[in-house]
Structure formats: C-alpha cells, structure tokens
C-alpha cells in the first residue's frame, strides 16, 4: 500500500530488504537481526550490510554456526516479546531447522490455545543460477507451505521486497522470507520510508486474455519475458506474481482464469510436491468449470540442482520453456 505520493529511490532488491529492516528497527526497539555473519560481513549474501554500523552489536547479532539455535532461540525470544529477524544463509539449510520452524514456531500458538504469539521472520536466500550446486540452490517454499501456522513470502521486485519485509516484521506470526539470489542485485524504484506490501496479496504484473501464468520469485521476470515473446505471436498473457505463497491469494488466480480459461504455473522448485501442485489442485476444483484446457506446470525437473553451468541452465525453467508450454495449450 503505502501512501499516495511517496518519493522513491533506486535500489537493489538486497538494499531494499535492508532498507525495510532498518525502517522497522528504527521504529520498534524490539526488532533485532540475528544470524551467522549478519554484522560486519552483511550475512550470507550481503543483505544486512550496514545495519551493524547503525544499530550496533546488541541489535545486529552474529551467531555461532548453529542454525538450530538461531531459529530455536528466535522462537523463545519472540514468545518473550522480541521480534527477531533471523537469517539462515541459504534456504537449503531449512532441513536443519524445520523442527524449530515447523514444530515450535508454527505450532506454539495453536498448541497453547491461542495464548502466545511468535512474531519472527526467518530470512533465507533461495534459488539456483549462480553455480552453487545441490546444497546451496534449492527452492523449498513448498515445505514451508505445508506447515499451518507459518506464512511464506517470496518477492520478485525490490519494492515488493521492501514492502513485504516490513509486513513480515510487523506480522505477529512466524514468516519465512525467501530472497532469490538471482534477484539480489536487480535494481528498481523503491518507495522511501514506511512502505508496506500486505502479505497475502498477489500482483497482476501484466494483463492478458488468453492464458494466465501464475508464478513467483525469480520466475516472474522469466514469465514476463515469455509473455513478451508470446505477444509477438499474438498470444495475450496475464502474469500473476503471487508474492506470498501462504496465505495464498486464490481469488486473484481464479479471477484471472475466469477471464483467460487457461492456466500455466511456473516455479523454479522441482516439480513433484512443488507448490504448483497446490495451485493446480485449487483451480481443478474451484475453477474447474472455468478451464478450457489442461493446467500446465513449468518447473525444474525432479533432480538435485547440478553444478555445471550447462546443466544448471538446462535445469532452470526459462522464458523459452514457458513460451513452449503456453503454445502447447493454444
């Protein structure tokens, strides 16, 4: 949202996240940043650079190499009233912390009958594309989406990254915030000051009438590029950037499909068990009568992320592959 006449500034996705965190740290003394090397080093990929200088080591805390304690302590700190913004460098390390995230952070409120809240953010870089291989390149939003009590956010632009990190920090629930490494260096206009993008609202990135592309994170630019290519061939594509995975903006999807009657879901995660399945299932149920053709998914194949550039490029969904999938439907 934000106000009507905001001044904007050009910054990268990484800077926008940092800016959003700083805005909240200035506003709320209970917000602190915590994780491996988040201080002077700026965290795994430099996102928190500069925060230590402004806020000092009490509020920008380097930890031991202990992801379990990073997430686990955040649950306790949040229960006791703080608002931790924790980083694990790569979402590939979610497997180390899924117990703290899924069994403690996400369930505490329900188990305790609504008598506690756990306002914490877990930031992690996600995605492939920098030849970081199988253990530093995954997209694991589907794991988080399967945990009631968690929210999961995956912005694709600098402005959304800022607006959503602020929303995540203000949210009274555990929020997983996935920062795609390929996007970190992308620059864009970002509103200054307090700028909030509500969690749970998708963005229509491009309007179109023939087919709906639903996607998120680093696949958004690929989908937009595919839409351009398809426009050249006379196919009119609507591109929806979910921005938030859970809670899902299912209305936005159904509304678009009601107009286009065709759906292609694009995600970078491996196909089987990816969040695309959830979207397809919802539309194949609640939107069945809207559909004129099969629901297609364009995803990574069911393999670990390979190292070699040749293989990694083949692994990643691309504008070309999206275009081919759409043309298949027409």
């Amino acid at each position: 949202m934000g106000t009507d006449t905001v001044s904007t500034k050009t910054m990268t996705y990484a800077q926008a996240i940092c800016d959003g965190i700083a805005v909240e740290m200035r506003r709320d003394p209970d917000v602190y940043v915590v994780g491996e090397d988040v201080g002077m080093f700026g965290g795994g990929l430099g996102v928190t650079l500069g925060l230590l200088d402004e806020f000092g080591p009490r509020r920008v805390r380097d930890t031991p190499l202990s992801e379990t304690a990073i997430v686990g302590h955040a649950v306790g700190a949040a229960a006791a009233g703080l608002r931790p913004v924790a980083e694990i460098m790569f979402d590939d390390f979610l497997g180390i912390v899924m117990d703290e995230l899924g069994n403690q952070a996400a369930k505490a409120r329900y188990m305790f009958g609504g008598k506690v809240k756990i306002p914490m953010v877990l930031r992690a870089s996600c995605g492939a594309g920098i030849r970081a291989a199988a253990q530093h390149s995954q997209s694991l939003e589907a794991w988080c989406a399967h945990v009631p009590g968690l929210k999961t956010v995956a912005p694709s632009t600098p402005a959304d990254a800022k607006g959503l990190i602020i929303a995540a920090i203000r949210d009274n629930n555990p929020v997983v915030f996935l920062e795609h490494k390929i996007l970190l260096g992308i620059a864009g206009d970002v509103p200054e000051g307090e700028y909030i993008v509500p969690i749970g609202k998708a963005a229509v990135k491009r309007e179109g009438d023939d087919v709906t592309l639903v996607t998120w994170s680093a696949m958004v630019p690929q989908a937009e590029r595919a839409a351009e290519l398809l426009a050249e061939q006379g196919v009119s594509v609507e591109v929806i950037d979910l921005r938030t995975i859970v809670p899902l903006d299912k209305e936005a999807i159904l509304e678009s499909v009601a107009n286009t009657h065709r759906l292609v879901i694009v995600h970078e995660a491996v196909r089987t068990g990816g969040f695309g399945g959830e979207i397809a299932a919802i539309v194949a149920d609640e939107g069945f009568d809207l559909l004129d053709s099969p629901i297609k998914r364009v995803t990574a194949p069911d393999t670990p992320v390979p190292f070699s550039p040749v293989l990694e490029d083949a692994y990643l969904p691309s504008a070309e592959k999206i275009k081919a999938a759409v043309l298949d439907l027409m």
Binding site: G72, G113, I118, N172
Partner: protein, 320 residues
C-alpha cells in the same frame, strides 16, 4: 544459601502437590479418563520445587515432555492443567495441547514440549529477551539426561555461553532415556562435565535433596542475574514409574529401583521437617490431605468441564 524454615515448608508443600497431582493423574489415566501420553514426574519433585524456589515471579521456565512438575512449581493452576489433560475447553490450551503442550506465559511458563530438547533453544531465546531489555530476569531450561545428547542442547548452550545469557540449564538426570540407560547413551558419568565444553560451570547435585538443589540453583541464578551467563546444573534423580504410563519399565534393575525408592525426595523431606522440628507427622498428614482435596477439586473441574466446540478446531492457527 540455605533455605529459611518457611521456604522449606513451602518447597515441601510444592513437592507434595506435584506428587499428589501425578498420583491422581496416574490413577485417572489408568481408569481410562485421560487421552494421549502421560509422562509422570513422580520421584523428581525436588528438582522442580528446589529450582523454582530460587526464582522470582518474573523469571521464566521452559519445560519438557515430563512437564507437570515444572508447571506446578512455577505456579501453574492445577485446575487448568487438569482440565487440559482431560482435553476440555476450560484447560490451559482449551483442549488443544494436552499434557505435553501446556504454557502460561503470564506465569513465565514458556511451555512443556513434545520434542525432547526442543525447549532448550527456546529458553535461550527468552534469556536473550531478558538481557536485551536490561531486566535481571533469568530463565530455567529443564530437560533430561538423554536430551543432553541432542544437537539443540549443544547449539543453545554454546550460544547462551557466548552471549552470557541469563539461563540455567537444569539436566534432570534420571539415568534413563526411555529404556536406554545413561552408559549406553553417553560415555561420561556426569552430564555436568559438558559445561566445560562451553566454558560454563557444570555442577552436580543430588536431585532428590531439595535443599541441595535449591542451594545450587541459588548460586546459578545469582551468576545469571549478575550477567555472568549460564550454568549447567545436573540433578541426579530417578523416576518412580515407567517412561510413560503403560511402560512396565522392564529394563531397570529392581534392586537399583529399590535403592532409589529409599531416596524418595518426599520421604526425605518428611524426615527433614520432622527432625528439624518444622512439622509434626500430623501437620504433614493434614497438609497432604489439604492438597489431596485441591487435586480432587481440580480433577472434578476437569472431568466435569465441557469438551471443546468442534469449531475451535480452526481457531488459534494464526495471530492477528
């Protein structure tokens, strides 16, 4: 620091309350009235009572799967506890949590925990909150001998040590994790030796001696309050019953069991009170029957409370 007479009476009362709560929960469970798993604290009462006696109301505790004793000792309402383990809408968690998931943030109770070792990092985080806000509150983390083999123990204790956090890690060493005895799950005899791995004090006490537990806790708490960071406090003890209700406990040596039963903390507490002239047998009997009545009242409250409404299924997942 040793306990005043009044404190001694108070911790004794606390121990008896835990004992009677657990005895009756046991019976009610066997009668088929309680759903789920039940891990009784019977035999370990001196630890919860002794440690919490060293705490203030604004201090915190994080508990384990064997949590009833910790909750009661920190002031938990036994009516709400009982209603919860009966699965009723009047319970602490409105019936959603059960025995392994009771919390009372207002009393500083961060919750029992179904994940062994799951509470240790949570306690550490609450301790950070205390330090961050400049209060001198402290946090106690209760966990078992077997739990000290979990990665959560290692990572959280190390983090607490590096950051000088005000947390006391209390290992309730009852010599077994389910059926696995300590020598089969670690090479060392004293879990407290692990303190040195993090540069913090490791202290062993007789966990069935409530005075000893209290004294050790006072030292640890005062270090924590002064900003000196965590202590690992190991309390040697014994659970009277099986791991959970229903476990026949065939893996323990009956003679070892006999020896430990003779060291029962309530037996010892009773002896102490009488020897020191703090209470007569009659006074203790009176106290016990008063407590029994309270427990009975709590059971009746639980038993007669309404079940949750089906619609409650969907609430409390997210906070506004």
């Amino acid at each position: 620091m040793s306990m005043s007479q009044e404190q001694l009476l108070q911790v004794f009362r606390c121990m008896v309350k835990i004992r009677e709560f657990e005895n009756r929960a046991h019976e009610v469970f066997l009668a088929g009235e309680l759903p789920g798993f039940l891990h009784l604290y019977l035999g370990e009462e001196a630890i919860a009572a002794g440690v919490t006696a060293a705490l203030r109301a604004d201090d915190w505790v994080a508990s384990s799967h064997r949590g009833h004793g910790h909750l009661i000792a920190k002031g938990g309402d036994i009516r709400l506890m009982m209603a919860e383990i009966f699965g009723r809408s009047t319970g602490y968690c409105r019936g959603k949590g059960g025995s392994m998931h009771i919390a009372d943030l207002d009393l500083g109770i961060l919750g029992a925990n179904g994940i062994v070792g799951g509470g240790i990092p949570i306690a550490t985080g609450a301790a950070l909150a205390c330090q961050y806000r400049g209060t001198d509150s402290v946090v106690v983390s209760f966990f078992g001998d077997a739990a000290s083999n979990r990665g959560t123990f290692h990572e959280a204790v190390n983090m607490a040590a590096v950051w000088d956090l005000p947390v006391i890690f209390v290992c309730e060493n009852n010599l077994y994790g389910v059926s696995t005895c300590q020598r089969d799950h670690m090479r060392i005899t004293d879990v407290a030796e692990r303190g040195a791995a993090y540069g913090i004090p490791g202290v062993v006490v007789d966990g069935n001696d409530v005075e000893a537990v209290y004294e050790a806790a006072v030292t640890a708490v005062s270090l924590a309050r002064q900003g000196a960071g965590p202590t690992l406090l190991e309390c040697k003890t014994w659970r009277h019953q099986g791991h959970f209700v229903g476990d026949p406990c065939a893996y323990r040596d009956p003679s070892e069991h006999e020896e430990w039963m003779a060291k029962d903390p309530i037996l010892r507490g009773t002896r102490l009170l009488i020897e020191q002239g703090l209470a007569t047998e009659e006074a203790i009997a009176r106290l016990t029957s008063e407590i029994k009545a309270e427990i009975e009242e709590a059971i009746e409250f639980g038993r007669s409370s309404p079940w949750p409404d089906e619609a409650d299924l969907l609430t409390d997942v997210y906070s506004e």
